[in-house]
């Protein structure tokens, strides 16, 4: 067992490349559990952050500061009655949430959390991601149609039109990023002449291309990379049906859109799929434009000292969270009613602190002992941390958008999609190609 662990931690390949099915399976399980936990965390964070945007407290009752609220919600949804409308198309109604869920979880097979921290590195990675995530719309459409009710049907019509339209602009933005993998022109930050001039569709390859060219594609051919990223960042909100593009489930117009007739577990599967899809598209954006797992300024702040500093961040984040939790413990009212909550929050803080200390310990241990496995673990941990950190920024942006903006109307959404985003992304693609050829 230990050998097995060592063989993996010492490996520089993804389980797919190493053809290690056992590790691939373990990875899939880790990702599945991780995404589920992330969705629950996101649920809590969204409610709390949104609440604070809106001068209220958000969940406060279940657990200290509502920390156990997602669990309470999950239990409630699990034991709720699963209502299938009598006029519904039962089979399609039953299968629709599963399709959505399947699509948004399958995407994670190719998400590169690090150079070797991915289930598999597919040659067509980004294409696979786009393809599979485009299947998610089928779940929405089927749900809306199978409910045999007007509001879900309108929701489904809206979402199919919306997702198909924004996929076009999104795809073109992605293509211009892929184009950049093969073009070694002037980056905003310096010139580079690495690689053989062949582009790649592989997710890991795209990040490696950014590594080799010493520039995040966000800043490459400024402002072209920026524009492509902007298009993607807008389209991905539309793809995931989030505010301000949440028309398919606009609750003030369509009560709840395509999942109006759903309840209990099935409804929660839709929510799970939606949040999983949000994390997935954010990871695409991070991979394509924000340098994936790379830490900030790998070239400018290079050297082993800086490496150490940046690898300490993971542990420090947990320590900081622990400190916040302890501040919460201190500020908890001194009253017997709050005793259990106080102890719980202290325990939670302790857990966070322990994780933080463990991570810091690994980093420092690696620095001190130069043990190969510790070094590799540090490296992997740092990579995964920075990747997740960037994704988390996107998740926060999702919440921010939701708190700030009203909802677009359908025709405006379509107009933005076809008359603004599509021409701009096409233009960016063409100009990127021209600039690349001239400078390359």
């Amino acid at each position: 067992m230990l050998d097995l662990l060592r063989s993996y931690l010492g490996s520089t390949l993804t389980p797919g490349q190493a053809n290690n099915q056992l590790w691939a399976l373990i990875y899939v399980l880790i990702i599945f559990a991780g995404v589920s936990v992330a969705v629950m965390t996101m649920n809590w964070v969204e409610r709390k952050a949104l609440a604070h945007f809106q001068v209220r407290l958000g969940p406060m009752r279940v657990g200290p500061h509502g920390l156990l609220q997602p669990i309470a919600d999950a239990i409630k949804l699990l034991i709720k009655e699963d209502i299938i409308p009598s006029e519904a198309d039962k089979f399609v109604f039953w299968i629709a949430p599963l399709i959505g869920l399947l699509a948004s979880f399958t995407v994670y097979t190719v998400v590169p959390f690090g150079p070797s921290q991915a289930v598999s590195d597919m040659n067509i990675g980004i294409l696979f991601m786009l393809g599979v995530s485009s299947l998610a719309v089928l779940g929405v459409v089927m749900a809306g149609w199978a409910s045999n009710s007007h509001y879900p049907l309108i929701g489904a019509l809206r979402s199919s039109a919306q997702m198909v339209s924004y996929e076009v602009a999104m795809g073109l933005a992605v293509v211009s990023a892929i184009l950049m993998t093969s073009l070694h022109g002037l980056g905003l930050y310096g010139v580079s002449k690495f690689g053989d001039g062949t582009g790649t569709l592989s997710m890991i390859g795209i990040v490696q291309a950014q590594q080799e060219q010493h520039v995040w594609f966000l800043f490459k051919f400024f402002p072209l990379g920026f524009m492509a990223f902007g298009i993607f960042a807008i389209a991905m909100i539309a793809e995931t049906n989030r505010a301000p593009f949440d028309l398919p489930e606009a609750e003030s117009e369509l009560t709840a859109g395509y999942h109006t007739e759903y309840s209990g577990l099935r409804w929660s599967l839709f929510m799970l799929a939606e949040y999983a899809a949000m994390i997935a598209v954010s990871s695409i954006a991070v991979t394509l434009w924000l340098g994936g797992w790379m830490r900030p300024f790998p070239n400018w702040l290079s050297g082993s000292a800086w490496d150490l500093v940046f690898s300490l961040f993971a542990g420090l984040t947990f320590v900081a969270l622990a400190v916040i939790a302890f501040v919460g413990v201190v500020r908890m009212p001194r009253h017997s009613y709050f005793r259990v909550q106080t102890i719980g929050l202290a325990g939670f803080g302790l857990l966070l602190a322990l994780i933080g200390i463990l991570l810091l310990g690994i980093v420092i241990g690696a620095k001190v002992s130069h043990h190969d496995i510790l070094n590799r673990t540090t490296e992997g941990m740092t990579n995964v941390y920075w990747f997740l950190f960037k994704v988390a920024v996107f998740m926060y942006l999702y919440i921010w958008y939701r708190a700030t903006w009203p909802r677009y109307r359908f025709d405006q959404l379509m107009r933005v999609g076809w008359k603004v985003m599509l021409p701009v992304s096409l233009g960016v693609l063409i100009v990127t190609a021209i600039v690349g050829v001239i400078l390359g």
């Binding site: 007007h150 505010a243 909802r407």
Partner: protein, 387 residues
């Protein structure tokens, strides 16, 4: 996906045959919006006839909240009926009470003392702000912006606290009595109102910051639900909706009551009569209300707060129509007295009811999402529509 309407709900009063029939025989969709729908602000049922998402026609089905207020009025004494009027436009209960009390005072031919009028103006204007705040929050929520709702409710809460301190109730206040006000102001009333004025002005800026120049808000509200001044007058639309169409008419100025002539304020008007103008007009009205309150609270005279009215109110035989500018428009009371202790007939002219009639012409040709926006911008309260 059944496109056939059941005959009972057929849109009989619409001339759909002549207006835009779709070229292709696409399926028309009949959608029942409400009575249980998150955006209809109560139990309003709107039957929408759609081509895709485009609205071909609407029919409002109202009356779900009908309680027979006018009938109740005929069976209660003048004094006993006073709290009932609070239950019509329950977000602007103070205005309702003011209109009723003044009508009965007119019938009795008595005048409320000056101090009472000042207190009435302060409370009514505070209530107008509260009503507009509730409108803004729910309207923005309908259009998808959730945050303003919580901002406005936070600030409305302070108004309700003042009401609660003054008369013990927050929503259905029953603040006024026939002949004045029953209660003297509590100690610190003026200070609290002044503090509130200081507090609210920057907060209105805050609402505006979120919405007034927000691109999506502009796109969702500009040129949506346009009603011309001529149409608005023909349909009897009043209040901010009429003013947003460019008619500078406010009963507080046109036929001043309750000492409004003593205060200096403007009537904000719009130009285009669209949802955005109505939004701007109401926002400006909140600021004007602040001005009025400031003048009133500074000039509040000493003296009795209740005129001399008999214990048993028995107005002489006669009939009177009196109307005030409620937050939603012209709120009129027509009371017939037969000389007894009970009104012979009480008629309420509800602004929401009449304004709701304009929904149909405002939403034709728009999309479903706009229906929600237009219902919001009309600022109806179903308790008043149905009475």
């Amino acid at each position: 996906m059944n496109a056939q309407a059941d005959p009972e709900n057929a849109l009989t009063n619409l001339d759909l045959e002549t207006s835009e029939r779709p070229h292709l025989d696409s399926n028309e969709l009949i959608i029942n919006m409400g009575p249980q729908h998150p955006a209809t602000h109560g139990v309003l049922r709107v039957i929408l006839r759609l081509d895709g998402e485009k609205v071909l026609g609407t029919e409002c089905v109202i009356g779900y909240l009908h309680r027979g207020v006018e009938k109740i009025g005929e069976n209660r004494t003048y004094t006993m009926f006073n709290p009932y009027v609070d239950r019509m436009d329950y977000v602007a209960a103070v205005s309702n009470g003011l209109g009723y009390c003044q009508t009965v005072e007119k019938l009795l031919n008595v005048e409320a003392p000056p101090r009472a009028n000042y207190v009435r103006v302060i409370l009514t204007e505070l209530n107008r702000i509260a009503s507009h705040q509730l409108w803004l929050g729910t309207h923005a929520l309908d259009i998808g912006a959730m945050t303003p709702l919580f901002y406005t409710f936070r600030d409305r809460e302070e108004i309700l606290k003042i009401f609660e301190k003054y008369c013990g109730a927050r929503l259905t206040t029953h603040a006024f009595r026939i002949g004045g006000c029953q209660y003297e102001t509590y100690r610190g009333f003026e200070k609290e109102v002044k503090n509130y004025l200081q507090y609210l002005a920057p907060h209105i800026d805050e609402y505006e910051e979120l919405l007034t120049t927000n691109r999506i808000w502009l796109e969702r509200t500009k040129k949506v639900g346009v009603i011309s001044a001529a149409d608005a007058i023909a349909l009897g639309v009043t209040g901010p909706v009429l003013r947003a169409s460019g008619v500078k008419w406010d009963i507080r100025k046109a036929q001043p009551y309750a000492n409004y002539s003593a205060f200096d304020f403007d009537i904000p008007t719009g130009e285009n009569g669209d949802t955005y103008d109505r939004y701007l007009v109401r926002m400006a009205e909140m600021r004007q209300s602040l001005r009025i309150i400031e003048q009133a609270v500074n000039g509040i005279p000493e003296g009795p707060i209740m005129a001399k009215v008999p214990k048993v109110i028995k107005p002489p035989v006669g009939e009177v129509y009196h109307s005030i500018e409620a937050p939603k428009g012209e709120l009129g009371y027509f009371i017939v007295s037969d000389g007894s202790t009970q009104p012979y007939r009480v008629r309420v002219r509800p602004p929401s009811f009449v304004n709701l009639q304009a929904l149909d012409i405002m939403v034709r040709g728009l999309l479903v999402a706009d229906v929600v926006a237009v219902i919001g911008t009309l600022d109806i309260v179903l308790g008043e529509v149905d009475r």
